[in-house]
Subunit: 165 residues, 2 copies
């Protein structure tokens, strides 16, 4: 698992994203993985940064708030079942790893583990976060928040990036 | 200038970014272009979003704060002279367009114009903004702000994306 540039297969990654990727977090002995369909990637503060969003109603929110890092795994294989489960069920009710037989590998750099799947993996160290301020959001996007469970944005410096088969 | 998917040449765009791209903004009859080396691109709120950062000390800041949109032009040709000028001189002191002979075209969708150069262009409608909260920034990144002139992040929904020669 040799590291690749953070630009590696970026277009494929972005095309897969709406179908789903996995955000995996571990802190204080707790861990969870959830499906994400949104993310931003680029260069900020002179670093390679991947930003993910987590609603404060999510089980993952309680973990990532205590975490120093997260990982994102973008599957190349068909994982519709796992993506649907991890996008609709809560880690409060299920050990998703056990339930789905999802195996994890230790992060090369992060404490958060990485899902063992054929895909592209980003290990990210949290360098900034920002709770969404709804008063600054364009009216057109308010339909995203009918329950007012807003997102917090976590900016992760990409400290390792690699592909597994 | 047919529109292309927002993923088009994303890897090349990201590799060019540290060398520089142009952020162009117009509002209330004022316009400016500045060099950027940072940006994030991805999917947020179910939209294709390009995020740029502007320090509040910048001339562009006063304009973008009043603007509904911005454009980003990523040059494929060598524009070292223009990028250096637009990254070191202020629109307070120079009409950069006149000074450098930079021609603009009307945005297809945005009021902000687009630079006429061989490259990739994003027209972006501002849908969210967020002033950087330094208390949430990792200590490692504080060297970016010796003068405490923090950035505001502008999240632009990509409403047009195309390449010109």
């Amino acid at each position: 698992m040799q590291d690749v540039p953070f630009t590696y297969k970026m277009e494929e990654m972005m095309r897969q994203l709406p179908t789903g990727a996995f955000l995996t977090v571990q802190a204080d002995g707790e861990r969870n993985t959830m499906t994400i369909g949104w993310a931003q990637i680029g260069i900020v503060w002179g670093r390679h940064v991947l930003t993910v969003l987590v609603r404060d109603s999510r089980h993952t929110f309680g973990i990532i708030e205590k975490a120093a890092d997260f990982t994102v795994s973008v599957p190349w294989q068909d994982m519709k079942k796992e993506l649907t489960f991890c996008g609709t069920r809560s880690g409060r009710d299920f050990d998703k790893f056990h339930e789905l037989g999802l195996k994890t590998a230790s992060g090369k750099v992060t404490k958060s583990p990485v899902l063992q799947l054929a895909g592209l993996h980003y290990e990210c160290r949290i360098v900034y976060k920002s709770a969404l301020n709804p008063s600054l959001l364009h009216d057109d996007l308010f339909n995203v928040y009918p329950k007012k469970d807003f997102h917090t944005l976590y900016y992760g410096e990409i400290v390792a990036c690699y592909e597994t088969e």
